[in-house]
Symmetry: C2
Subunit: 216 residues, 2 copies
């Protein structure tokens, strides 16, 4: 199996969502062409992405919706539940906690931390906010595997170090800066400022970007 590119993984997430939609519509089968159509990419891309992991379709028929959904869930590691710790109980943290969608996909927030004494002890969407000083102990006890950094910029690297020391294996970072973590830690950064700037660039150039990104 070749190394799987980040773009392929992102598309798998999209396929999964389309499959869930299509399934809700009661369809049993779907072709790569129609799977692609909904995503704004080519059918060859869909087939190539899936071919990295096996042969899930049937020639002449397409893919069985429920079966492919399960296969993709397995590939993405969504057949189990993940224990998530959120650091930073400000707006972004609150938005994450309020959004029920993650739980549905298998991500359970098991602890919320903040440094601000005014926030510690407050109940935020069923979770009592704990002092970040207790993170190492709590993360270990709760078996936190994924840490979310929703703190101000200046605290982000320290929190990342803390999470790594606490044994977290993956980090989702909302602070607008590169974080340095050991190579065995998976890190993803969501940088909204960068998205705004990318829009600004596109608008300034006077044209939308090429199609395969234009439908992001």
């Amino acid at each position: 199996m070749p190394r799987i590119s980040e773009s392929t993984v992102r598309r798998l997430s999209h396929y999964l969502r389309v499959l869930e939609e299509v399934e809700a519509e009661g369809k049993r089968m779907i072709s790569s062409h129609r799977l692609a159509e909904r995503e704004g990419i080519t059918s060859a891309q869909v087939r190539k992405d899936l071919s990295y992991f096996g042969s899930f379709g049937r020639r002449g028929l397409g893919y069985n919706v429920a079966h492919l959904r399960e296969e993709i869930r397995t590939i993405l590691g969504l057949e189990r539940r993940w224990r998530v710790g959120v650091v930073g109980a400000g707006n972004i943290g609150a938005a994450l906690l309020a959004y029920r969608g993650f739980e549905k996909q298998g991500f359970d927030v098991v602890a919320v931390f903040d440094r601000d004494p005014a926030r510690i002890g407050v109940k935020l969407d069923h979770h009592e906010v704990q002092d970040v000083a207790s993170l190492p102990a709590v993360a270990a006890r709760e078996g936190v595997e994924i840490g979310v950094i929703a703190t101000p910029l200046r605290a982000a690297q320290d929190v990342a170090d803390l999470l790594v020391a606490a044994g977290v294996r993956g980090i989702l970072n909302f602070a607008p800066r590169k974080l340095f973590v050991p190579p065995h830690i998976a890190l993803r950064t969501v940088d909204m400022a960068m998205e705004f700037e990318s829009l600004s660039f596109a608008l300034t150039q006077g044209r939308a970007p090429r199609r395969r990104r234009a439908r992001g």
Copy 2:
């Protein structure tokens, strides 16, 4: 000038942030090597990215920090201010409004909309939430150029259509689905569920992704 890739634009945003940091530290010059170091990429990449737009450095010396910062701001279209309308006054909308960073970079929220009567009229961070029904009129009057979709999934496509009809040129979408917009509209989607799934994949594979993405 060749077509500029999305990756290059994203790196420009990063360079800009590094330059602002370095400037705050009082440094006058910076080499492509040190600019790259902070970003976890190669110096050749930095030079190549910049070379698409011109020659900003001096051989033997590196780049003048303040000058390069200004050049990149110009390239990204940040020498002007952008008028932003936010649709959806829930958690994500509130998080965006509360974050002062965007204003600082040139993005001014000039209107906030929601459909929920319980939210309409409420003041959210200096902005009175308006009925989404008034979006066409208000967006035109206020000259909204960038629309942010922070609504629930099911409303996202309708809101996108509304924004396009109102003359918006760029859309930043937080709803976890592909939106269809005309080709002349720039669209970026921030999909947090996808980021979680990408992390799940990486952890399931038992290895972090290759380095150039690992330091995202």
